[in-house]
């Protein structure tokens, strides 16, 4: 009985793995023949692929880096500061975190328009930096933090920055990596914002490339998919352990 269940589980895993594997295999199979012509056409005929690729890379890394800088102090504040309405504010963060993008896209658009950064890179990067997801997850993780290390640090220095960097960050390193990975994946996958908030083709990301399938020939799409997968795969291989250990979301009290 156990063997059967094991086998079923493995089968299921194979099924789940299938789309990824198939995409990779099919990229070498353009037009029914084995060959590299898909990649060939992608690399040497499709120049806007590069622009969009580097845009995606830029947005993802910059947003992830900056968001980590913002959420570390914020989560720390939630953990250690005392003020009225702290839990209510945190609750508000949670609700905001759960909002689907479509609800926020109009506010986003209007906000950016009024700030004059609508068709710019800043318009994509800035809102994403302040997404509440990281704060919530990091704060939950900080509950298991050791306060004495921070106390010891307080005796040594007055600078909050140093305390955060040397006493807090090392303890929550795992969670930071996990959140970073998650945020990166989110940015890498970003579709609505570049599509709706950017006019200039030069600023758009690779996800838009895929949504615009009329202008690209079919055999380019599979290789493009594979190339698109690689950066996030690399990061996952780096941080997969942290991903599983760092997301303790369920203690929401």
């Amino acid at each position: 009985m156990k063997q059967l269940l094991r086998f079923l589980l493995l089968l299921l895993a194979a099924v789940f793995f299938l789309p990824t594997l198939a995409t990779i295999l099919l990229s070498f199979y353009p037009d029914g023949q084995v060959g590299f012509s898909g990649y060939d056409e992608l690399f040497f005929d499709c120049f806007r692929f590069y622009t969009m690729f580097w845009n995606s890379v830029l947005y993802a890394y910059v947003i992830t880096a900056l968001q980590l800088v913002v959420i570390l102090p914020a989560a720390f504040a939630f953990s250690f500061a005392r003020f009225k309405g702290k839990e209510a504010l945190f609750f508000f963060y949670i609700i905001l975190m759960m909002m689907p993008l479509q609800v926020m896209i109009l506010p986003n658009y209007i906000g950016l328009r009024d700030m004059g950064i609508l068709n710019t890179r800043a318009g994509i990067i800035l809102p994403m930096i302040f997404s509440p997801f990281g704060v919530v997850v990091l704060r939950q993780y900080m509950k298991s933090m050791d306060g004495s290390v921070i106390e010891a640090m307080r005796l040594e220095t007055n600078s909050m920055v140093r305390i955060l960097l040397h006493a807090v960050a090392p303890q929550v390193k795992v969670c930071l990596y996990a959140v970073g990975l998650f945020v990166f994946a989110e940015c890498w996958n970003m579709l609505e914002q570049p599509m709706l908030l950017l006019q200039d083709e030069n600023l758009k990301t690779l996800t838009v490339f895929f949504s615009d399938t009329k202008n690209v020939s079919d055999q380019v799409l599979y290789p493009a998919s594979v190339v698109f997968m690689i950066p996030i795969l690399l990061l996952y291989l780096f941080f997969h352990r942290e991903l599983e250990r760092g997301l303790t979301l369920h203690e929401t009290n």
């Binding site: 156990k2 299921l12 914020a74 504040a77 689907p100 109009l106 106390e151 609505e192 996030i232 997969h240």
Partner: protein, 269 residues
Amino acid sequence: MATVKPHKSIRWNTKCLLCLVPSLLGLLLFYIIPYLRVLYYSLINNQFKKDFVGLKNYIDAIQNEYFRLAFFNSIKLITVCVPVLILLAIAVSLGLTFLLKKLRLVRVAFILPMLLPTASVVLFFRAVFGQVENELPLYLLFIWKNIGICIILLTAALTTIEDELYEAAKLDGAGGFSLHVKITLPLILPTISFSTLMAIVNSFKIFRESYLYYGSNYPPDYGYTLQYYMNNNFLKFDYQALASSSVLTSLLVAAIVSAFLLAERRYQR
């Protein structure tokens, strides 16, 4: 906190508080204030005339047949997909924790879809399911994508159950299936409920998958969800309809999330 002089403690507290400022400021600038403006838009009839029309926009939205179709589809997605997803996630998590302890690699198969860009796999899904005339491919895509987060949460919870509990239960005569039903499930119930919440919330986000799969702004009827409604209004510059549907959806989501969290808080006491 350690015993320090009162004024130092207040200074410390203030410093901690200040740490919140960047996040809060950004939130205010880019989320809260714009949202309030949208709320304002939803209560007026025209960007230029700015007559206050109260709830008229909301009534129009609810009576709009596309909104209804979208809403219906979204609800259908939730009620069908989420239970399947959760049950599958529970089954797989149990399997991974107890049956396949050694093979850590298997987990990758379930977690990877969560991170992989949808755009990369949509081609394959389209190739396989292109002929299918209903919402099944979309549901499968949803399950494929979202099982990862549930499995991460559930397996993390499962590993925190101590072995002694199982030993004790086995001594009492429980075995196999009933063992799990009686011990495991109640213990991980909070995580299950949270996973359900995440799944419901993510179901609202299915737009991206749907858009890439159908490749246009006008999917077949069964694929038309709330996000398409809002997206199309956005493209048509029909801000009133968009504003009111955004607010409605946000209220719906807020209600669901609040209900869950409050229920969970009560359960823990």
